[in-house]
């Protein structure tokens, strides 16, 4: 199980997850630096991600969208703030409008990723998500949950529709 530690800080509206992988730092970095790898794991199977643009440099932007089970799309972007390859990068993750432009009505999440040698040939990744407020945290996470719930409800509906 890759997860080493989870730290939930309600007061600071911050979430930290530390995970351990049996691959070197440079390899794990590639999961984020290569758009074709990033889109393979970023979203769940029910809402896979497609990375459209990928400029992982300070001032650059990563643009992506998630596709739901009924084909509905939810677009997002990363504004890249800091990059220290292959050890660390920091982005602001935000919602985008359908045309890919940032939706400035929605709060963003500051995400910091750190990749460190675990002393055993592997990598310790620390991912820190910081929300602008507790309200934003609840709202944004619940938006994600609602989609998952909607999908679950849809599956229940189709089960119920099966003739007995």
């Amino acid at each position: 199980m890759p997860i080493v530690r989870v730290d939930k800080d309600i007061d600071a509206h911050m979430f930290t997850v530390v995970s351990n992988y049996g691959a070197p730092v440079e390899r794990v970095w590639q999961l984020y630096a290569d758009p074709r790898q990033l889109e393979r794991f970023w979203g769940p199977p029910s809402w896979p991600a497609t990375v459209v643009g990928h400029d992982l440099r300070p001032g650059g932007r990563v643009t992506y969208f998630m596709t739901g089970p009924d084909g509905e799309k939810s677009a997002g972007y990363w504004d890249v703030l800091e990059v220290d390859a292959p050890h660390r990068f920091v982005v602001n993750d935000g919602f985008a409008n359908d045309d890919g432009t940032p939706n400035n009505d929605m709060p963003t999440i500051r995400m910091e990723f750190q990749f460190a040698d675990d002393g055993d040939g592997g990598t310790l990744m620390t991912a820190i998500s910081t929300f602008t407020s507790a309200d934003a945290m609840i709202e944004l996470i619940e938006m994600g949950m609602e989609e998952g719930m909607r999908e679950a409800m849809g599956q229940i509906d189709s089960l119920l529709a099966i003739p007995m």
Binding site: P2, I3, V6, K8, I10, H13, F15, V17, S19, Y21, G22, A23, R27, V28, L31, Q37, R40, F41, W42, P44, M125, A127, S129, A134, M137, I138, I141, E142, G144, M145
Partner: protein
């Protein structure tokens, strides 16, 4: 209502403090049935708008109601079936990351 047993002491205190007042309990039952603006709520009670607003804030801090802006109004609603709580939101985020981390691991191990 469902109180998440995993709530910490601080959150539980906020919850009990929120529910210790009769006006606040009335506000929660009212907005459970239907969304109300803060002004509409204020008309229900023999107290100032500011006093009602303060009660709404206590409820919001405890996570029992949510407030959303609609034009110039603040709309208040409660959804007890899914108690809005910072802690359960973070639990959901943990679940999301557990699955994401597992997918990362899968890609890394399939390379060999």
């Amino acid at each position: 209502m469902v109180i998440d047993r995993a709530l910490g002491a601080t959150e539980t205190n906020k919850l009990f403090h929120a529910l210790a007042d009769a006006t606040r309990r009335d506000i929660v039952s009212t907005v459970m049935v239907q969304e109300h603006s803060v002004s509409a709520l204020a008309r229900r009670y023999p107290m100032s708008f500011a006093a009602v607003h303060k009660h709404v804030t206590v409820l919001e801090v405890a996570g029992l109601i949510t407030k959303t802006r609609s034009g110039r109004e603040s709309l208040v609603r409660a959804d007890i079936a899914r108690v809005r709580d910072a802690r359960s939101a973070l639990d959901a985020l943990e679940q999301l990351w557990q699955e994401r981390v597992a997918r990362m691991d899968q890609i890394l191990t399939e390379d060999h």
